[in-house]
């Protein structure tokens, strides 16, 4: 198998009729990788994933193989594999389509990953707002049980694995891995103090690894194709294919698979360019928690290093594209309202900071801002960034600081002395 950057990997089955059925999956190499995996040792699998350089697709980009190797070698306590399918980052729409179109790739990935980490119980924590996806995943899990791919002594290998699909109850914070674990245990979803890290004391205080859906769904392909094949795609430090969820003012929004390191310019070509030809104004490379980019950044390679070098983050590769008809302060206000609504409340900076910043932005958009408000916003951002308990607070300030950085004029235009006629349209081309 050789890799062609245009040939889809993760999404190759998506357009087949009934792509979510086990039979369809098996027609296209489905459930071949886990047979190879179960024939090997857990150590070999961890090494393979390390060699492939697979990095976490949930946003932080932590090397998956390294994460797996944190699991203790003994089994004094049960080991748990938890799949983070609480896809909640604004703009992100890759895991849910993946689970809708190709749930078995996730399930096969779970079998391989669980085997590699000596886990016999895997939980898939799906965000509660997507019942159709949960139904489909549940039915796929049932199919896999019926085929003998889950349960006791999987295909005679002696390996046991159960998968439980669990629906969240609608909180962005539960995408944070320790809050997810608390929620899964039936508690209030709020991030836990680390250390101990999940690999030492995670779900029910037992060794646990939390991985993103797309990360795990990539694993069967690595097992089948090998580390070198995987590394043919993407860049040296960020190898492999990635699903970009492109939304906003483009001709054909949707999920586009491309190797890591693809630029927005290339992605725009894939999705038919800017809608109605109205020029690009700003965009997020990986969801609203990643600092904004502008048209200057069209050629930034979208991999973990490239995005970071350009002053943002790759995040979840949720590319939200905004054209010139959108006011930046208004968009930033909407995002900030989201963070205010979703702040879990545990720590002061995020809880109070998002509440304050949302009010300032709302006031500015109403045309009652002052120049001093811009300084206050930036200073409050400084007091939230890196001061909050988890990364939610860091994400919350990204749109504000980057928005002011690139579009300060629009914020100034909202201020009292420049009171605009239609504040929600400040900076927007008419």
């Amino acid at each position: 198998m050789t890799a062609d950057p245009i040939t889809p990997v993760l999404t190759k089955r998506w357009l087949l009729p009934q792509s979510w059925r086990l039979a369809t999956y098996e027609k296209l190499e489905g459930y071949t990788a886990f047979r190879k995996a179960l024939a090997g040792t857990p150590e070999q699998l961890v090494q393979l994933v390390k060699d492939a350089g697979l990095r976490g697709r949930g946003g932080a980009g932590f090397p998956a193989g390294v994460k797996w190797s944190f699991m203790p070698p003994n089994e004094d306590k049960p080991h748990y594999l938890v799949i983070n399918a609480d896809e909640g980052e604004p703009g992100t729409c890759k895991d849910i389509p993946l689970m809708m179109a190709d749930p078995h790739s996730l399930i096969e990935g779970c079998i391989i990953a669980a085997y590699a980490m000596r886990s016999h119980h895997c939980f898939i924590y799906v965000r509660g707002e997507v019942p159709h996806c949960i139904r489909r995943l549940n039915s796929a899990v049932r199919e896999a049980y019926a085929a003998g791919y889950l349960g006791k002594d999987i295909i005679g290998s002696g390996f046991d694995l159960d998968i439980t699909v669990h629906a969240g109850a609608g909180a962005y914070i539960c995408g944070e891995e320790t809050a997810l674990l608390d929620s899964l245990e039936g508690r209030r979803g709020q991030p836990r103090l680390k250390p101990p890290f999940p690999a030492a004391s995670g779900l029910y205080a037992a060794p646990t690894t939390v991985n993103n859906v797309e990360t795990i769904a990539s694993v069967p392909f690595i097992v089948n194709g090998g580390a070198d094949w995987f590394r043919e795609m993407g860049s040296e430090k960020s190898p492999g294919p990635k699903i970009f969820s492109i939304s906003g003012h483009v001709e054909r929004p949707g999920q586009y698979e491309a190797p890591l390191g693809t630029t927005l310019r290339e992605l725009l070509e894939l999705c038919g360019g800017m809608k109605d030809g109205i020029p690009l104004k700003f965009w997020t490379p990986g969801g609203s928690s990643t600092p904004l980019f502008t048209a200057e950044h069209l050629d930034v390679p979208l991999d973990f290093e490239g995005a970071a070098e350009a002053g943002s983050m790759l995040g979840t590769t949720a590319v939200q594209v905004f054209n010139e008809t959108v006011s930046v302060p208004w968009a930033v206000m909407k995002w900030t309202q989201f963070y205010e609504h979703e702040s879990c409340g545990k720590c002061t900076p995020c809880r109070e900071g998002t509440y304050w910043m949302a009010q300032i932005l709302e006031r500015m958009v109403e045309g009652r801002g002052t120049e001093e408000d811009i300084d206050t916003l930036l200073d409050v951002c400084d007091n939230v960034l890196g001061r909050s308990f988890c990364a939610l607070g860091d994400g919350a300030v990204s749109p504000i600081t980057s928005g002011i950085k690139y579009f300060r004029d629009e914020f100034l235009a909202l201020c009292e002395k420049n009171r605009a006629g239609k504040p929600e349209l400040v900076g927007a081309q008419r």
């Binding site: 409340g345 809880r351 009010q359």
Partner: protein, 826 residues
Amino acid sequence: MTIAPDKAATGETPVPEGYVKLTIDGEEVIAPKGELLIRTAERLGTVIPRFCDHPLLDPAGACRQCLVEVEMGGRPMPKPQASCTMTVADGMVVKTQRTSPVADKAQQGVMELLLINHPLDCPICDKGGECPLQNQAMAHGRPDSRFRDTKRTFPKPLPISSQVLLDRERCVLCQRCTRFSDQIAGDPFIELLERGVHQQIGTAETADVLDMASRTSGGKPFHSYYSGNTIQICPVGALTSAQYRFRSRPFDLVSSPNVCEHCASGCAGRTDFRRGRVMRRLAGDDPEVNEEWLCDKGRFAFRYAQAADRLRRPMVRDRESGELVEVPWTEALRAASEGLTKARDGRGAAVLPGGRLTVEDAYAYSKFARIALRTNDIDFRARAHSPEELDFLASRVVGTTPENGVTYSALEQAPLVLCVAFEPEEESPIVFLRLRKAARDKDTRVVHLGQWTTAAVRKTFGELLACVPGGEAAAIEGIAQHATDLDEQLKADGAVVLVGERAAEIPGLFSALHRLSERTGARLAWIPRRAGERGAVEAGALPTLLPGGRAVADAAARAEVERSWGIEAGALPGREGRDTSGIVAAAAAGELDGLLVGGLDPDDLPDPALARRALAADCFVVSLEMRPSAVTEHADVVLPIAPVDEKSGSFLNWEGRRREFSVTLEGTGALPDCRVLDTLGVEMDADLFTQTPAAAAGDLERLAVRAPNAGAPDVPHAQPVTPGEGQAVLATWRQLLDDGSLQIDEPHLAGTARPVLARMSKATAAGLGGQVTVSTDRGSVTLPVEVADLPDGVVWLPANSDGSKVRASLGAGHGAVVSIAAGGAR
């Protein structure tokens, strides 16, 4: 600040095993592994501001107020770190707000954020003047806020129990209260609700998301015996007590250390008073005893001393009218002296001092009985008691101290604690907290020999060994055969057995425990319920014991006491006296001419009806009391005495630890028992030398405790009783919050008492229809039934709660056979 000199030049300081070396603000410091940065800095004198951090709670890292800059292995960490969650490490370089502009700005930023939604109502807030938020905002905050938008508001106050009121606007969501309730008390009735800026503390009743801000608590409030601690550890004025709210300002209060008079835990506390009136009580900080906690009874039950009916002037019964009339002290003392002298010279006078005295007061009663009344008829035990218990007290209890006996820290270190006939949460709530801590933090195994899985069993992660009431002794005897793992663990180093006051109602139990302890080596401790009992043993307020554990029957011991007291050789009566039951029976039978009674309630005695007959008999009764009681009705002379706030003295707690306290409210004119007895003694030509508590303590000290040489209790255990048709065996003990006389005038406290219910097994409850009437030939108690895991044929009643006064109504106690019938039926 002073920068430490370059240590490298002067040679390295050796780092002991288990310690690490780090640098804080340029100063090298050696700290034990595992210590939190915030504490290490504090030892250096740098106080890092904090809200959620509390040394006795698990770290939370929620408030983010304590951020500092940290460098590890030469690499600065990218974000400031919470010093309340990060432990010290070798080579760590820490910069606090003193040396790091980043840390200082982070702290100022968090403080500003904490205040944006805070109402800033310090001038009307109870906490104003002693508020960590106020103080730290002054020290680490901006002079003014940049916030000019709308604050988040909540209806307030929200009563989360009858005693605790919540102001959600003032709350900084540090989670100290929820963590205390969850971790320390084991009563997680309060929890964080909602999220973001709407996050709030609430109970199950306030959790309605549809109507979240306007609910007040209803059926399931903050029912915890320890709820008051949340008020004290709240770093803002969010939690206030119904009792103290809006009553005073901290700077108007005078604070005085106290020792709690309610139970034998011996808690250190602080009494705050204003213009001669106690306004509130707080927990003191005593790591050896109550750490920083106090039960709600100790915190809130002090208004009894301010009761309108407090006795302030002596009274003598007028011969003609039969009424008590106020008279001057001289007249009252003369009348008391004449009456008691006559009684002594007639058929004798006896002393019932009660179990709530200070050591000094108990000693005065003890000495008064021996010298002025020339009798050993004295017994402090105003409760069920037995001769077996006397042997136990003489052989196993008197003379134990924290140095040679079981202590709180011994409980914490013990591999196993066996609680026998002892309900820790109800009878000694701070012992309960320590048992829970031991079980939670140190994996101590806690086994309860009782009747059902009480809250304390659950919250100490304990195991229940269930037996029929009265069967405890047999159960202890059976451990060797039937619970071999327990038997093995009792032999382990540090194993402890705790026994409560109820043991006196179970024949053979003290003997069985003594044998168990001798056989296994487990250490045995007696935890009485009342604060004065342990001290009264030492003071010799017992018919068989003189002060210092000297046996009445021992001529050499008597001679020693006679020499110390400077009285004629042979003056001390050599015959052992009568115990409480014996005294009461004798008085009722007309065999006694006088009774000197301290603070006791006839309804606490084994036979309340007999006790009332004894008081009503033709017997001269002198009552030393604070408030009118059932004794007052029959007293010939009533002498008012001081409550603890108005006197000094000491209690011995269950460990035998001396808990000394001084006068809180000076100059009220109220006299301690020892002073009254001393003067009464003078009237009777007996010199007690107990004019002041200090004098009494000095006098007692000369009678240092002698190694007890009393015989161990040796009573066979009783055969188990089998209840007949329509009968059950009664299990009963007191709830912490009940109708005790020291809890009067505290409706808010009473509102947090546990519901008054009868408990029995499902089978026993069958056919009763939800309500049971428990009766004896004396009377009955009718209560709703709650099914619990009691042995069949057993009914549990709270001993002294509203609607369930077991002694007074039934004349029966733990282990008695009672009749049960469907509620209301006769």
